[in-house]
Amino acid sequence: MPRLSIWTIRAALLYFGFGFTFGGLMLYNKGVPVDPSAWRLLPVHIEFVLIGWTVQLAMGVAFWILPRLRREDRYGNVRAAWIAFALLNGGVLAVTAGAWFDNLAPLVLVGRGAEMAGVVAFAIHIWPRVKAFGG
């Protein structure tokens, strides 16, 4: 497994663990009310499990497993993939901060923009690798 996939999949695992924890806190609170503000975790829970976990895991596995190029740089434009990793994670954290802190609300838009740019960078990286094996 290449280094970028290791970073991406481990980051995804952390988002999975914390996303599940936040979901668990809300569910616990629904059954046995402890603190009504637990519901504020909902956007963070969704962001972590949807983008941080599911989307990022798919990107990490794709980088690992899709056909490689018949060149010296077998993985192609790796820099674009690292940029995608940085932008996606920066985006998730920005969205989280914006959703949690009222005075940082504009960060939600910034984060969504970073996530979108990250996905564009990933598409640029992965496009030439969507091909027949050995082709």
């Binding site: 497994m1 290449p2 280094r3 996939s5 290791i6 999949i9 481990r10 695992l13 952390l14 999975f16 663990g17 996303g19 599940f20 924890t21 979901g23 668990g24 806190l25 809300m26 569910l27 616990y28 629904k30 059954g31 046995v32 009310p33 499990v49 599911t54 895991l57």
Partner: protein, 139 residues
């Protein structure tokens, strides 16, 4: 494919079918007269799909295909793997049983079942992370 991976993926497939049937039932309430609890099924539907199907499919495939942990324990701790399966499914089933009733406030005493469900699923999530972490490596 190892036995535990087959259990995760087949359980996932069952949840996939149940999730979509739940979605049909939830939507049907707008067209036909159904019991009140049907209107509370949206979170159950979403989590049947996201946890029951997608998460279990991912866990099953990861357990099967990620790099081997060691020659002796190629898939990490089998005990942790089975614990993940049992806790996740027990937690999800408890949620399916109790959440509609708690939401309707028909049986608030069942709230503790939801709390237990939350603890079981959270524990399952972290057990999966712990067991998978060391298998995310170069070879």
């Amino acid at each position: 494919m190892p036995r535990l991976a087959r259990w995760f993926i087949k359980a996932g497939l069952l949840y996939f079918v149940i999730a979509l049937a739940t979605g049909v039932l939830y939507q049907a309430r707008t067209e036909i007269d159904l019991p009140t609890w049907v209107s509370t099924l949206n979170p159950v539907y979403v989590h049947l799909l996201a946890v029951g199907w997608i998460t279990q499919l991912i866990i099953g495939v990861a357990y099967w295909m990620f790099p081997k942990f060691s020659k002796e324990q190629p898939r990490g701790s089998e005990t942790l793997g089975w614990a993940t399966f049992i806790l996740l499914n027990a937690g999800l089933i408890l949620r399916i049983i109790s959440e509609p009733r708690v939401t309707l406030r028909a049986e608030p005493d069942l709230g503790w079942l939801l709390a237990v469900s939350a603890v079981l699923q959270t524990a399952a999530g972290w057990l999966f992370v712990i067991n998978t972490w060391s298998r995310v490596k170069e070879r």
